[in-house]
Amino acid sequence: MPGDRAAGGTTIALLASELRVLLRRGRTWAMFGALAAIPVLLALVVFFSASPPGPGEGPPLLDKVTQNGMFVSVTALVVTTPLFLPLTISVVSGDAIAGEAGLGTLRYLLVAPAGRLRLLVVKYAGAAVFAVLAPAVVLLVGWAIGSALFGVGEATLLSGDVIGPGGALARSALVALHVAISMLGLSAIGLFASTLTTVGVGAMAATAVLAVVAQVLGQLDQLAWLHPWLFTHHWLGMMDLLREPISFSGLTDNLVLQAGYLAFFGALAYGRFTTKDVLS
């Protein structure tokens, strides 16, 4: 009955259901809460410290936050990108398939029938939405606490140019976008790991470990040839967005790199998931 298919049970409907499940989970909100705590902590520490941080002291840009509260968001995003944010991404993407398998709901989704490819696409889309929401939480909470404590004034960029509040708002949003894009490759890696096991925690841990290992490799000069290929290569490349003239090349290079990881690990996940026995 082709009419039935058009009327309901579309991929969009399944994605909406996926997001509802994600957002009804206490775990998701615990992670959002932990992420939100970072800008709050940062802002409070700066606010209550006797002397404002000097240039180059503490995390990047910390010295700027007193000029413009928007920079709380940027600093918090830079601080969470290497470890904290990838951990939350690993939890969501590593659990995508393995979590359903562990609960046993995977067999019921598949006989519904969700379709293996359709389910995989929806699972990745769900993880990608989380990869956008997580930095967005840091961004919004950073804006809120920053503007409350420090106000929104003019801000000096890394290049020395001065921008107004509107510019600061836009720049910090661009930084969040860069961070969200940075997590797309890791989400694909997590999705693939998730098709390999019925133990969600295993896939999450493997994904998180990879994120750390990639960054360690990125620090070794002996492996310079490898660096452009690491999915973590552009993770801290958001600084280009804080200069005048603004450079989008880091953002687009990152997008291309992450898309490559998505294609590769998406294909692996497809190959694995569409052929494996679901016995849980």
């Binding site: 009955m1 039935d4 298919r5 009327a7 309901g8 049970g9 409907a13 399944l14 909406a16 259901s17 509802r20 499940v21 009804r24 989970r25 206490g26 609960l103 046993g104 709901t105 067999r107 019921y108 989704l109 598949l110 006989v111 519904a112 029938p113 969700a114 379709g115 389910l119 052929t275 026995d277 679901v278 016995l279």
Partner: protein, 317 residues
């Protein structure tokens, strides 16, 4: 359209060295309540997993609702409701939300009618009051009911219920039986597996018996009952003469036991072509054999299955 809802030919599944399902030839007619029976570990769930495309067969073929497995399952599965190896749900969602979630994955699950259908399915399994409770707080029996409700979200041509009475109390078991009966009356084919014959014997029209992955018997319940060889129980004070007389008519004496009144109980198998019981009794009496008791017994289904599987029904492999 054939008259079979489920058909397998030489269906085989190997796990490492173990044959979980071994050259299975199932034929479940449309409209039947088909009981897939066998002790734990006999391969029932594995068979169901292959039929529903969850696991790939190592060998053989299967058809579900006239669609090849697994190639045609995309077309077949929307017409199939299933409960597989127990219920499984998101503990952090309510019963109703869990059903809505699985319905969203179903290509036939229209969003517009969803909440109505969810409420109806919950009503049908007696869970209306618990609809808004998180599944975390459900008992095993309630989860089992919710699993059944999931299979009933849409009208289906085929229901596959793997051990649907597991975890249910006797009252729940009766309810499941009457549910199966009402679904079957509505024209739905029901394939129901169980390791407990008694739970499904009353509702099924057909049965297949599995043991260690192999098919031991299959057919209508009447056919299966008839397949058991009838036995004669004869109580007599003249066992020697009686045995000679029975053997003359083609019976095979299989047992002889001292009875309380000093006579002997003889058991003998009664071949299909043997003379009628009343004729046998007349001949025994004519030969001077004292007949104190004479009975023809057919084995119960339970005895039949114990004989087929070599063990009681709860015994794990």
């Amino acid at each position: 359209m054939t008259d079979l809802a489920v058909e397998t030919r030489g269906l085989t599944k190997r796990f490492g060295h173990q044959l979980a399902v071994d050259s299975l030839d199932l034929a479940a007619p449309r409209g039947s309540v088909f009981a897939l029976l066998g002790p734990n570990g006999s391969g029932k769930t594995t068979t169901i997993r292959m039929l529903l495309g969850l696991a790939a067969a190592t060998g053989g073929t299967a058809r579900v609702l006239d669609h090849e497995v697994p190639g045609g399952l995309g077309a077949a599965l929307p017409q199939v409701g299933a409960l597989i190896e127990g219920p499984a749900f998101y503990p952090f969602l309510t019963g109703a939300d869990n059903l809505a979630r699985l319905d969203a994955a179903d290509p036939r699950g229209r969003a517009r009618t969803r909440s109505h259908r969810v409420a109806e399915a919950l009503e049908r399994v007696g869970l209306t009051k618990a609809a808004g409770k998180k599944v975390r707080a459900y008992s095993l029996g309630m989860k089992q009911r919710l699993g059944l409700a999931n299979a009933l979200l849409l009208p289906r041509e085929l229901l596959v219920l793997d051990e649907p009475t597991n975890g249910l109390d006797p009252q729940g078991t009766r309810e499941v039986r009457s549910l199966i009966r009402s679904l079957a009356d509505g024209g739905t084919t029901v394939l129901v597996s169980s390791h407990l014959l008694a739970e499904v014997e009353q509702v099924s029209t057909h049965a297949a018996v599995m043991h260690q992955g192999r098919l031991k018997a299959q057919g209508t319940l009447a056919e299966l009952r008839a397949a058991g060889t009838a036995q004669v129980l004869l109580r007599t004070p003249d066992p020697e003469a009686a045995a000679a007389e029975l053997v003359r008519f083609g019976l095979v004496v299989t047992g002889r036991q001292q009875a309380a009144d000093g006579s002997t109980d003889l058991t003998a198998t009664l071949p299909e072509d043997a003379p009628a019981p009343e004729y046998l009794v007349a001949e025994l009496v004519a030969a001077g054999v004292g007949v104190r008791g004479f009975e023809v017994r057919r084995p119960s289904m339970e005895e039949l299955f114990v004989a087929l599987t070599g063990e009681g029904f709860d015994v794990a492999r």
